[in-house]
C-alpha cells in the first residue's frame, strides 16, 4: 500500500515499510550517511542521517525510521544541520579522518569547525599487523559496526570480531584479545570491503603506501627455503615446488 507524507514541505508518495532514507534517495533528497551501507543491517549508530519529524521529541535517524502516512519530515532544518555539524566536529576531534574524503567534504558542507573541541582526547591506536592479509588501524575507526556485522549474520557467519571495551575505550576487538589468525577469522576481508574510513586495509595496499615496490612485496612471501632431503630418497621427490630457483 502506498502512503503519502511531507518531506521538506513537498508531498511524497512511497510504498509502505520503507525507511525515510530510501524514500529520500528515490526522490533525489540528499541525506548524508556514514555508518549506513546497503549491504549491512542499518543500526543508526553514527546519527549523521538524522532528520526532524514533527511531533517527535528528538531527531530521528532516517536509515531506520520508516515513513508513516501524514508524517512531516524536515531533512535539513536548522536543528538537523546543527546536530550533523556537531557529530562531524566530534568525529574530527577524536579520530583520524585523513582517508575519509567523504567525511571531510561533509565537514565543509556543514561548516564544521575542526577546533570546536580543542581539549578532546583522540582515540589513538597502533597499527595492528598480525596476519598476512590485512592491517587494522583503529585510530581511523569510527565504530560504524559494519565490520562486525559482515563478520556475523550480514555475510560471513564467522563471528571473529565484536565491540570491545566500554564508553571512550570502546574498540573493535577479537575475543580475549587474540591475534586475528588465532580467532575463528576466515580472512575473507569482507570487513575490509565495508570499512568506510581506511581503518581496515589490504596488506599489500598498506605495504605499497609504506613505499615498498611490488617486487619487494612479492618477495615477502616467497615461502621459506626448504630443507632439502631429496638426495638418497628413492621415493617421490617432495618439496621441490617450494625451492628457490
Amino acid at each position: 500500500m502506498a502512503i503519502t507524507f511531507l518531506m521538506d514541505g513537498k508531498e511524497v508518495t512511497a510504498e509502505e515499510n520503507k525507511t525515510l532514507l530510501d524514500i529520500a534517495r528515490e526522490n533525489g533528497v540528499d541525506i548524508p550517511t556514514i555508518c549506513f551501507h546497503e549491504a549491512t543491517t542499518a543500526n543508526a549508530l553514527c546519527r549523521i542521517c538524522v532528520v526532524e519529524v514533527e511531533g517527535q521529541r528528538v531527531l530521528q535517524p532516517a536509515c531506520i525510521v520508516k515513513a508513516g502516512a501524514g508524517m512531516k519530515v524536515q531533512t535539513r532544518s536548522e536543528k538537523v544541520i546543527r546536530a550533523r555539524r556537531t557529530i562531524l566536529e566530534m568525529l574530527d576531534s577524536t579520530m583520524d579522518l585523513s582517508e575519509t574524503p567523504e567525511i571531510q567534504n561533509m565537514m565543509k558542507d556543514y561548516n564544521a569547525d575542526p577546533n570546536r573541541f580543542p581539549d578532546a582526547e583522540r582515540r589513538e591506536s597502533d597499527v595492528k599487523d598480525d596476519n598476512p592479509m590485512y592491517v587494522r588501524d583503529y585510530s581511523k575507526c569510527l565504530l560504524c559496526w559494519r565490520c562486525v556485522q559482515v563478520c556475523a549474520e550480514d555475510a560471513q557467519y564467522t563471528f571473529a570480531i565484536n565491540f570491545d571495551g566500554r564508553g571512550f575505550e570502546t574498540q573493535i576487538g577479537t575475543f580475549f584479545g587474540k591475534s586475528i589468525p588465532e580467532t575463528s577469522c576466515v580472512l575473507c576481508g569482507q570487513c575490509v570491503a565495508v570499512c568506510p574510513t581506511g581503518a581496515l586495509k589490504p596488506k599489500r595496499e598498506f605495504l605499497l603506501e609504506q613505499g615498498m615496490s611490488p617486487q619487494e612485496i612479492s618477495v615477502l612471501n616467497t615461502g621459506r627455503k626448504q630443507k632439502s632431503k631429496v638426495k638418497g630418497r628413492d621415493d617421490f621427490r617432495p618439496l621441490t615446488g617450494l625451492e628457490e630457483r
Binding site: 560471513q156 588465532e182 580472512l187 575490509v192 570491503a193 605499497l208 616467497t222 621459506r224 630443507k227
Partner: protein, 738 residues
C-alpha cells in the same frame, strides 16, 4: 591512500562459484580486490582466495621466459631417464650444486626456438606413431577460448580425441550419472536458489571451505529464510553448526544411506507418483532393488543410526521444495557413478527436480571446469557434449575446421587417468599439459611419476615450474587470469567475462595465442590445410564454437558484458536458463537406476586400520601452483593430518606431533591436528602440499564407467615420527579455526 590507475572487472580464478571481482591496478600491479555489492553471483562477498589470493601473479618464482632442456637447445641426443628439475640456469652454465645430468638443465630461450622445438618433436612422433601416440591435458583454470583451441589443435591437426582435463578427477562420476539419468551434466539449478529451498541436503561437500560463497548462501537459507539443512558427510564440517541433522557416514558408504532413504520414502508412501509417472522410467525395477536397503542394513554399513536415516528421508520427501548439493565425496570413489545415481534416484522419487528451488546440484570445483567440459576437452565429446563417435557431429566440426569429410577421428579418446597409464612404447608418447599438475593431483603419485618418465616428449604450458612442469622437455610460459581476456563458465552455467588487468609479465603470452602460434607452425610443417587460427581476439574463438554448440549460440561478449548469461542460450535474444528440466529431460524421461552397495576397493585391515580421506582447505587450491606461491601459504603453511581425539589417545598421539602416514603405495610425514572434525577411524589430509603429498597414499582404483579414481577412501596406518623427519619443520600452522 592509493589511487587506482584503473579498476578492471573480472571473474575469480579459483572455485566454480565464479565471484565477480574488481581488480584495482596501480602501475601494472593489483594492490586491492573488491567485489560489487550488487553482483548476481556473490553479492559482494568474497573468500580469502578471491580477495587476497591474486599475488602469485607477481611472484618471483613465476616463469616468464620460454625454457627448454639443454639437450634440445644444443641438439644432443635425449639422455636416459627423465629428470624432475625445478631450477633454471639463466646464464647457460650448469646449475650450481646440481647432482643431475647437465643435459637435463633448463635453459632460457626465445619463443621462436621453443615453439619450433615443440612443433618438430610433436610432428616427429605423430608421423612415426600416429594419432594414438598424441595426448593433451586441457586446463579448467584457463578460459573457454583457451580450452576450445587446445582440443581443436589436437583433434584437427593430430586427429586424436585424447584430450581430457581434471573433470575426470573431480566430478566424472556425477557427469556420467547425470548423463545416464537425465542426459545433461551440469547443475540443474543455480546456487543462489538455495534460499528458496525448504529442505536441502549437502553431501560429500565441504562447502564452507571449497565453495565458501555458496556456503554463505546456505547459511542464509537456514538462518534468514527458514530452510532446514541435512549434512551427510564423514567430517564435522562447519556447515554442521547450521544443520538440522548431521549424518556422519563412513567414507564410501553413500549408496547404502541414499538407497535406504529411498527405501523409507517408498515404504512410507512419500513418493511423488505424479512425477514418476509423467517424467521417469525404470521405476519398477528400481523399487525391487530397494528391498534389501533397510535403514538397519545401511546403519550396519555406514554407521549412521537407522532412525536418523528415516528422519532425513521424511524431511527431504515431505518438503515442498528440496534440493541436493554434492561434491567430490560422492564422485571420487571407485563406484562414484553409482553414488551419484543414488542421489538422482532420490530426486526422481520425490519430484524435487525441474522447478525453482529444487534440483540436483553437483558443485563444480574449478572456476572453469564446467566451461572446459562444455568446450569439448573430453575424450568422448566435441564442444556441446556432442559424441565423437557420431558421424553427424563429426561432420559439423569437419566443416567448421576445414577438414576433409571423414577426417576427424571417430574413436573415443583416453581419459586423464588413462592417458598417463598408457604412457609407454606403443602407447602415448607425447603429452601436452596446459596448466595441470598431475604430479600432485593424480592418485598414487609414485606410480604417476613412473608414467611421466615413460613419456618421450612432454610440453608444459604453465605459469610456475610445478611438480609436473619440472618433468617437461619444453616449458611455455603462459599467463594467469589477470593478464588475459576471455570467458569462464561457473558452476551455475553462467558464462562470465574475464578481463586483463595488465599486460603479460616478462615474455609470457596468453594461452590462446601460444596455441594459435604453435598450430600454425604444425600445419605449415605438415603441409596441411589450415583449420583457421588467425583470430584477432578471443571473442572470435567463442563465436566459432557457439556457431556449432547451440548452448552458447546466443552468447556474445556484448551480451555478457555486465552480468553474464546462464546457458543454454540458444539464440541472440534468449535470456538464459537458470532452471533446467522444467518440461522434460534432455534424454526424454528421467531414468531410475537400480543399484547395489559395493564397498570401497581398500577397506581397513589390521595392518592399515584407518580410512584416509582427502580434500582441500580454505586457503589453498589443489596442487598449490597458485596458492603456495601466495601470501595464502603464510595463512596455512603446512600439511596436517586430522585425527579424532579417541584415535589419538589410543595411539598416544598429541596435537601437533609429527607422524608418518603410510598406505600400501607410499608414505608421508606431517603433523597431526587432533580434532573432532574427523570421525573415529577416519583420518583426513588435504592434497595441496608437495612435501607431504596426500596423493602418494591414495588408491588409483577407477570407477569403471567414469574412470574417476578413489581419492576419498584408502587404508592407512599412522606411526609416531620425529620432528627432524618433517620436510618443512619451520612451517607451523597456528590458526584458531583449525
Amino acid at each position: 591512500m592509493i589511487k587506482a590507475d584503473r579498476v578492471v572487472t573480472s571473474t575469480c580464478p579459483y572455485c566454480g562459484v565464479g565471484c565477480n571481482l574488481q581488480l584495482h591496478v596501480k602501475d601494472d600491479y593489483i594492490f586491492k580486490v573488491t567485489s560489487p555489492f550488487d553482483s548476481p553471483v556473490n553479492h559482494g562477498n568474497l573468500c580469502v582466495k578471491g580477495r587476497f589470493g591474486y599475488d602469485y601473479v607477481y611472484h618471483p618464482r613465476r616463469v616468464t621466459t620460454p625454457l627448454v632442456r639443454r639437450y634440445l637447445l644444443e641438439g644432443k641426443p635425449k639422455p636416459e631417464g627423465r629428470e624432475q628439475v625445478f631450477a633454471v640456469s639463466t646464464d647457460g652454465k650448469p646449475i650450481s650444486n646440481s647432482l643431475i645430468s647437465n643435459l637435463w638443465d633448463w635453459l632460457e630461450t626465445d619463443w621462436n626456438t621453443a615453439l619450433n622445438i615443440v612443433a618438430d618433436n610433436l610432428i616427429r612422433i605423430y608421423k612415426r606413431d600416429g594419432s594414438d601416440a598424441m595426448a593433451a591435458y586441457a586446463c579448467a583454470k584457463a578460459t573457454n577460448e583457451d580450452n576450445y583451441l587446445l582440443q581443436k589443435m589436437y583433434r584437427a591437426i593430430f586427429r586424436t580425441n585424447n584430450v581430457d582435463h581434471c573433470t575426470r578427477l573431480c566430478h566424472a562420476g556425477s557427469v556420467v550419472a547425470l548423463q545416464q539419468a537425465t542426459g545433461s551434466s551440469a547443475m540443474s539449478n543455480t546456487a543462489s536458489q538455495v534460499i528458496q529451498n525448504d529442505v536441502f541436503i549437502v553431501t560429500g561437500s565441504n562447502t564452507g571451505e571449497n565453495h565458501p560463497i555458496i556456503a554463505l548462501q546456505m547459511k542464509d537459507a537456514v538462518r534468514q529464510y527458514g530452510a532446514k539443512m541435512i549434512v551427510i558427510d564423514p567430517r564435522r564440517i562447519d556447515l554442521v553448526d547450521f544443520a538440522e541433522m548431521w549424518l556422519p557416514l563412513k567414507p564410501g558408504t553413500n549408496v547404502s544411506v541414499f538407497s535406504a532413504m529411498a527405501h523409507v520414502i517408498v515404504k512410507e508412501g512419500l513418493v511423488n507418483h505424479d512425477f514418476i509417472e509423467k517424467r521417469t522410467e525404470g521405476f519398477n525395477d528400481f523399487i525391487e532393488s530397494l528391498d534389501k536397503f533397510t535403514p538397519e542394513y545401511a546403519e550396519e554399513i555406514s554407521g549412521v543410526p537407522a532412525e536418523d536415516i528415516r528422519k532425513a528421508a521424511r524431511m527431504y520427501a515431505n518438503a515442498k521444495k528440496a534440493a541436493i548439493y554434492w561434491g567430490m565425496g560422492i564422485s571420487q570413489l571407485s563406484h562414484g557413478t553409482a553414488s551419484a545415481l543414488a542421489l538422482i534416484n532420490l530426486a526422481f522419487l520425490t519430484g524435487h527436480i525441474g522447478r525453482e528451488g529444487t534440483g540436483l546440484n553437483p558443485l563444480r570445483g574449478q572456476n572453469n571446469v564446467q566451461g572446459a567440459s562444455d568446450m569439448g576437452c573430453m575424450p568422448f565429446h566435441y564442444p556441446g557434449y556432442m559424441r565423437v563417435d557420431n558421424d553427424d557431429n563429426a561432420a559439423k566440426w569437419e566443416k567448421t575446421w576445414n577438414i576433409e569429410p571423414g577426417g576427424l577421428s571417430r574413436k573415443l579418446g583416453l581419459t586423464t587417468t588413462e592417458i598417463l597409464s598408457h604412457a609407454r612404447e606403443g602407447g602415448i608418447r607425447a603429452l601436452y599439459i596446459m596448466g595441470e599438475n598431475p604430479m600432485m593431483s593424480e592418485p598414487n603419485l609414485n606410480e604417476t611419476r613412473k608414467h611421466m618418465q615413460q613419456l618421450e616428449f612432454l610440453v608444459a604450458q604453465d605459469i610456475f615450474m610445478n611438480e609436473s612442469g619440472a618433468f617437461a622437455d619444453v616449458f611455455l610460459p603462459a599467463t594467469p587470469f589477470a593478464e588475459k581476456d576471455g570467458t569462464f563458465s561457473n558452476t551455475d552455467r553462467r558464462v562470465q567475462r574475464v578481463r586483463a588487468a595488465h599486460a603479460p609479465r616478462g615474455q609470457s603470452r596468453v594461452d590462446w595465442q601460444i596455441i594459435c602460434d604453435l598450430a600454425l607452425r604444425l600445419e605449415s610443417k605438415l603441409g596441411a590445410d589450415s583449420a583457421k587460427w588467425d583470430y584477432s581476439n578471443p571473442e572470435e574463438i567463442l563465436r566459432e564454437m557457439g556457431n556449432v554448440n547451440s548452448d552458447y549460440a546466443g552468447i556474445t561478449y556484448d551480451r555478457i558484458d555486465k552480468v553474464g548469461l546462464i546457458y543454454p542460450v540458444p539464440d541472440m535474444t534468449h535470456p538464459g536458463t537458470p532452471t533446467l528440466f522444467k518440461e522434460s529431460f534432455p534424454r526424454g524421461r528421467g531414468k531410475f537406476h537400480a543399484l547395489d552397495y559395493v564397498p570401497v576397493m581398500e577397506e581397513p585391515s589390521d595392518e592399515y586400520p584407518f580410512i584416509l580421506t582427502t580434500g582441500r582447505v580454505l586457503e589453498h587450491w589443489h596442487g598449490g601452483t597458485m596458492t603456495r606461491n601466495s601470501a595464502l601459504n603464510e595463512a596455512y603453511p603446512e600439511a596436517r593430518v586430522e585425527m579424532h581425539p579417541a584415535d589419538a589417545e589410543i595411539h598416544g598421539i598429541r596435537n601437533g606431533d609429527p607422524v608418518k602416514v603410510q598406505s600400501r603405495r607410499g608414505e608421508v610425514i606431517l603433523r597431526v591436528t587432533v580434532t573432532e572434525k574427523t570421525s573415529v577411524g577416519v583420518v583426513f589430509i588435504p592434497f595441496h602440499f608437495a612435501e607431504a603429498a596426500a596423493n602418494l597414499l591414495t588408491n588409483d582404483a577407477l570407477d569403471p564407467q567414469a574412470k574417476i579414481p578413489e581419492f576419498k577412501a584408502c587404508a592407512v596406518q599412522v606411526f609416531p615420527a620425529r620432528e627432524d623427519e618433517l620436510l618443512n619443520p619451520d612451517a607451523v600452522l597456528n590458526r584458531g579455526r583449525y
